[in-house]
Symmetry: C2
Subunit: 347 residues, 2 copies
DNA sequence: CGATTTCACGAAAACGTTTTCGATATTGCT
DNA sequence: AGCAATATCGAAAACGTTTTCGTGAAATCG
């Protein structure tokens, strides 16, 4: 019933444990004959190496930790999928923890992972995180850590990101190119780097086009699990505050869809009265009416690449090689749909 | 740099390893004085028990495995969230694997988890799974396994589910109550139990109301990642085949939203021309226009309860107690929205 | 044929913990 | 004082593996 051990194989064949171990691992100093014998009886006894013992001996668990702000989120779950599929290919399993966008929780989760001795950590930062000691602690323990999407520039580790500023610039430029003159921005929370960068990209695009930046056109939303509602609320508020706005660049698709729903309800025509560009290319963006122009953010690929980088560092560390942090930037793309007008030059 | 061990604490205090271990675990046979001393130096040296060694000794990893058909899925990610939040409370970590709705992969994932010696397994079956040896194998190894949502009735283990048949019956009855006479059904794949049960509930509701069952009104969709498209396609097909249909009960919200999108595009009025009830109460159901009447399926709670049951069995097994499988049925609720008419009695 | 190399194997330590069992020292009691 | 009971500790085995090192036998070579 219980899985067999090396010792049991050794006893049935009347050889030593060491030889059995070596036979199973194709060491050169065991004859072809006994090697075959060992393999056969191992199969017979349904031998499975006891991973606990292997871990203890080799000091690695072949397991990595993954911390994300929120599991129930289309973008993040896509990233997760990319990570676990890639990890599995390399024989790694992944333990998922959630920070719930809380710095305190994030710290606790890191601690949990360290105490479980994962080989490395993949993390996307919580919105609330502004102190990074818990992260540098990981690095100090010689455990590789790579951040993705929501990163901290200041921490010296590998990161895989997109160029949020550039993407936001492109999005805003698209609004301008299609004739928008007065463009609002629904931005994300104040702390996270990508929400800052998207804001900056928006601002720069305005200035480059000689459109004055007006801070009263910038609305904040938490992007929590209420983002759809926030989108509706902001849209309603915007209609009250600024009747002259004819375009909005919105920090994330879910909020944008909330806004569209609100505009639809109030008879505001999209894109004629107001054009909208979202961010992420969430699945629903193509389903809503009108479909949402947005920035495509390659989640699956981001997960895949993040793991690949971690894996590289894992291997390097094993060979005692020095690893230098790498910043990997993934390409984004503007997806033009029905929530923005066609380009003037295209008509 | 490297974490301290019991031995190091013992040496600095010039006592034995055993005493240190016992002091840290509050054994009664160590004096208050040394206990305090040990705790202090442990903190000083930043001691962390080596989980590999603990695992080996105690034969448990405080880790469970979770296998789901698809991570990028609103319902499942909600379940995942319920599971990890509950597991964390009890000091368990969870390793997530994906079956991609493939039986072969599912088998492989189970094997992976067993070889990693997880303490128990939580699983929602792949659509393709019709043989269950890989699951009974787990039970035979005395590892607890509990299924949720997509289960196999035949396997003798705990399950947490909803009453799909009843919920589908309620949904269909709601269509009838609001005046629908000819009701179609977009069903899920043929194998999974819940897709079967939902179909049966639909059928029974018809018969109980003396509406003849017409198999040509039943459309199948895979519910893969293309379900939105499938919804559109089925809706279009339905319009071609049966102009007289005035209500549809749809296996899952995503497909229903696809259908709504298609109907909207073709000018079919919902709920006047065709009423629709979905299944799951996916977030977007309340966002789409018209908002979708649906069956609320408590994903978060399902995850929570599934883990709780597994935890119970884990504890029972530790005490060598016999555990008898338990079937836990969660309540669903009909959520009435704008895709169905108001009840005749309510007007 | 003696010396050296190669081959095949085993003994044993090590990883860091937990737990049983015994040993000493202290206390309480008659 | 003598004895039992209790408090406090340590030695050591065990969990199952990996890996180093040593050893004898066989093979090779001059």
């Amino acid at each position: 019933m219980k899985p067999a051990t090396l010792k049991q194989i050794a006893e049935t064949l009347d050889i030593s444990v060491s030889t059995v171990s070596k036979a199973l691992k194709d060491y050169s100093d065991v004859s072809e004959k006994t090697r075959k014998l060992v393999r056969e009886t191992a199969a017979q006894l349904n031998y499975r190496p006891n991973s606990f013992a292997v871990n203890l001996r080799t000091k690695e668990s072949k397991t990595i930790g993954l911390i994300i702000p929120e599991v129930v989120h289309h973008f993040f779950s896509t990233v997760i999928k990319g990570i676990i599929s890639q990890a599995e290919k390399k024989g790694y399993l992944v333990i998922i923890l959630q920070s719930n966008e809380s710095y305190e929780l994030e710290k606790k989760q890191i601690d949990l992972l360290l105490s479980k001795h994962v080989d490395g950590i993949l993390i996307s930062l919580a919105n609330g995180t502004s102190d990074f000691k818990h992260l540098t602690d990981v690095i100090d323990q010689d455990k590789p850590i790579v951040m993705f999407d929501k990163i901290a520039k200041i921490v010296n580790c590998s990161k895989v990101i997109i160029d949020d500023r550039k993407a936001a610039y492109t999005a805003t430029q698209h609004l301008i190119d299609t004739g928008c003159k007065r463009i609002a921005h629904f931005r994300g929370p104040l702390l996270p780097q990508n929400s800052i960068d998207r804001f900056l990209g928006y601002k720069k695009a305005l200035l480059d086009n000689n459109i004055p930046y007006d801070s009263s056109l910038v609305y904040i939303c938490d992007c929590s699990d209420m983002s759809f509602e926030e989108g509706k609320k902001n849209a309603a508020q915007l209609l009250k505050d600024h009747k002259d706005v004819d375009g909005i660049f919105i920090n994330t698709d879910m909020v944008a869809i909330g806004a569209i729903t609100e505009f639809n309800k109030r008879g505001v025509k999209i894109p004629e009265d107001i054009s909208i560009v979202g961010f992420s290319n969430w699945f629903m963006s193509s389903a809503i009416t009108p479909s949402l122009s947005t920035i495509d953010q390659p989640g699956y690929q981001m997960g895949k690449i993040a793991f690949k980088q971690l894996y590289k560092e894992l291997k390097a560390l094993k060979k005692e090689k020095e690893v230098r942090p790498k910043i990997i930037e993934l390409e984004t793309a503007l997806v033009k749909r029905d929530s923005t007008r066609t380009m003037v030059s295209e008509t």
